[in-house]
Symmetry: C2
Subunit: 238 residues, 2 copies
């Protein structure tokens, strides 16, 4: 059974200030919870229906009815299990390969999709500006799926970070050099900018190479930032 206090806590975690206060976030659905149980995230509580419990041998599960689950879920169709998970304090790591840097990505669906693309293309680290949407926002968690658990996402002052980067820094622009004609080194930083305004002026000064995806149709105003990120990662990693 889920108590009123638990319902209140879980519901409150839809808001960033409460996630920060409690250092908790919510993960929903049997697929991502299966991956969560295999990850190094710390699960604080697990709420599940009898169906889920009967199929999984996990200790300390709080059994809930489907209607309880609906009451605590953020989703239209709640899916068997919901976990309260401790937020990880991710540090910036010094890794080889591609480091993706996000300058003020606002849309949670875009961030989630970008996390998934990173996972697909073997990118281990994303560094976000402080004004980028929170990685533990329920919509980000939902669209990133299990990939969220595998990518090191941290938030920092991008200027402070980029000032000390020794790898070449590439930025995605509307009118830069065609990525088809560029040679990419193995180690690099790739910066993607805000959905409406692109990379900010402040961050632009750190960029060594302005690069673009050619607009073949010549009519669409822009590519969605998550699509553009996928194409950059595809081109760079091949």
């Amino acid at each position: 059974m889920v108590t009123k206090k638990q319902i209140k806590l879980i519901k409150s975690l839809a808001f960033k200030k409460n996630r920060i206060k409690h250092q908790l976030f919510v993960v929903e659905g049997h697929k991502i919870v299966a991956e969560l149980l295999d990850s190094n995230y710390e699960i604080v509580s697990l709420f599940a229906t009898i169906d889920w419990i009967s199929k999984n041998s996990v200790n300390n599960v709080i059994q809930v009815t489907n209607s309880d689950l609906s009451r605590i879920s953020n989703q239209k169709s709640p899916n068997e299990v919901l976990a309260l998970v401790k937020i990880k304090k991710n540090q910036i790591l010094h890794l080889d390969g591609i480091t993706l840097v996000l300058d003020n990505i606002n849309d949670p669906g875009n961030l989630g999709t970008i996390v998934r693309a990173c996972d697909w293309f073997g990118v281990k680290q994303i560094i976000c500006s402080r004004d980028t949407v929170d990685i533990y926002n329920p919509k980000v968690v939902q669209s990133a799926m299990g990939s969220l658990l595998r990518i090191n996402v941290s938030y920092t002052d991008l200027s402070d970070y980029l000032r000390n980067v020794s790898k070449p820094i590439y930025g995605a622009y509307m009118h830069g050099d065609n990525i088809l004609d560029m040679e990419f080194p193995k180690d690099l930083c790739l910066i993607m900018g805000n959905e409406a305004h692109g990379i900010s002026t402040e961050i632009s000064q750190y960029i060594d190479y302005q690069s673009s995806i050619r607009n073949i149709g010549n009519s669409a105003e822009s590519l969605n930032v998550a699509m553009a990120t996928s194409i950059f990662l595809y081109e760079i990693s091949n």
Copy 2:
């Protein structure tokens, strides 16, 4: 002023059966309406705030207050103008280049993003299975933006269509040939499948080349279908 009857009609168009019945759909926001006015779509009514009217010399605009606009809008932050537009009966065209075929795409955001990617990469035609989400769904319209007005989207029985296609037919699979190693002709059909189940068995029989985007990270279960489509279109069109 907007009448009660108009409010009821506009609200009803959030549902496909009403869009079919009235042969109308809704377009919102000053950016897409600017493109709409330049397109060959027929606008039935245009509702706009005094701000919009003062900046645009368009006849027969129904002036509304911001609160009226909120009442008829599907969006959280209604944006100056809303148009009631006649649905176009798109026919399948015999065009050179890439024809994109969608087999049961469910998510409106995905379809909208795919339309935008087509526009970017110069793809003029999308042919959808009848169970693909409706192109005039408000969420599709919102995420496709002006690109919706430039792409010929039609719905048909895919088997009937594909049976008579003479171009080579490529399908996106999880485990096909790496698109990096493939040569693509100028004229082709590309089929993308459902978000959860991929291309259906029925449609698979028409496919000449099963193709894939290499999973470099080797952990993510799948790429989002809109991202995969963008990468395919990028690779094929370059």
